[in-house]
Symmetry: C2
Subunit: 216 residues, 2 copies
DNA sequence: AATTGTGAAATTGTTCACAGCA
DNA sequence: TGCTGTGAACAATTTCACAATT
């Protein structure tokens, strides 16, 4: 636990998988799981599971395995899921509205508080009780509502400009669905969710049909 | 090119990024780009760009760089974007309908031919001219329409069963949006698009606010 | 002068194998 | 006995550095 060292990107992503697997095990009534169990569920190796967890502490009992509930809570708190985050979503098109009404996010503590669009027909209305505001108000509203994280679901050509406003408003995390590589300062965390990449990857696999490339 | 060797997962994904960057450069009227240019656009190193491309051949000219149009076409053909793929989408909820009407996929050769749902109210209607069929017909329809690739946007608990039907129908590529780890045979290519993972990753970064973890 | 293409070196990530404990 | 935790071994990936080419 003292080793505040470089935790790899992939370790963090696998933590999310473990968290999900543990939630399911909990629902199914299990009290303990072994690294073997976790590995099988997520198509990994037991050693990998143990190594990943070991970066954060020793949560298991030798001979027995890991306590489901406690490990889930522990991973949740590592990932920051034991608190709530204020989220805003910019671009209420097809994808944006779909995400706005996606209940899973709320459950994990990501509370979508504001929606933004530039379409006068949409501004003033709401989705599932979340108001759609004028995109021009981003600066003031993001600050006023203490937004921690912004989801961008808008057309590619407008994304960079909007991202800059978001950054100016002090937001430090952006999940970007627009099909462009955003430029943001070093201290802003950015992830790109790019469905084209996944489709193209599958296309590559189909075309070179031989060696598989499982999982994501 | 002769080296039919293990091309890494990450190399293929970066190819998608290069493809996108080259499309933009082409639109902007550039005839050549250097590895430096490409790297800057996608936040990578020039060496990485050159190494990635070198797995597939020598497309550049020393001293000059890469010809935009040709390199784009070359990468397109490596990724299998120079042909068309028949796609079906299963689960016409919020996310499913959003993706069904997302025009970018069509442009890249991914033609969504069929939609499936189990809701009698939806079956028989259509989205942008794509018919919504009864999910019970998956078996026959996927085969009849020579579907290459299936996008699954349905609730987690139903996903595994449906995936098995899809596999039985001979489909070899699945893009899964359901929040579960699907089990499919070795010869079926599977990618998981998992938005929760990206949000949780950002949550982790915010919580441990110090060292950044850019990009996706 | 600029920029590619590529072995070799450095780094990062994964798996092994086993000591240590319940 | 069974399973964790972890250093050491191994494998994969990235970066370096430079000869080759225009």
């Amino acid at each position: 636990m003292q080793n505040i060292r470089k935790i790899s990107d992939s370790t963090i992503r696998r933590l999310s998988l473990y968290y999900r697997a543990l939630s399911n095990s909990e629902k199914d009534g299990y009290f303990t799981v072994s690294s073997q169990d976790l590995a099988k569920k997520e198509r990994l190796t037991p050693a990998q599971v143990r190594k990943d967890l070991s970066f954060f502490g020793s949560f298991g009992t030798r001979g027995l395995g890991y306590p489901v509930k406690e490990l889930k809570e522990k991973i949740g708190s590592i990932l920051g899921l034991n608190r709530s985050w204020n989220v805003a979503l910019i671009g209420v098109g097809n994808l944006g509205s779909a995400l706005a009404s996606y209940k899973e996010f709320q459950k994990q503590g990501f509370h979508i508080k504001l929606l933004f669009d530039n379409d006068p027909k949409k501004i003033g209305s709401s989705i599932d009780g979340i108001p759609i505001l004028d995109i021009k108000q981003i600066g003031t509203q993001l600050k006023q509502n203490k937004i921690d994280l912004v989801i961008m679901t808008l057309p590619g050509h407008t994304a960079q400009g909007v991202a800059e406003e978001v950054v100016r408003a002090g937001v430090k995390a952006i999940l970007n669905f627009a099909p462009v590589s955003l430029k943001v300062p070093e201290d802003v965390f950015l992830r790109n969710e790019n469905m084209a990449i996944e489709l193209e990857y599958l296309s590559f696999c189909l075309k070179n049909r031989n060696n598989p490339g499982k999982h994501a």
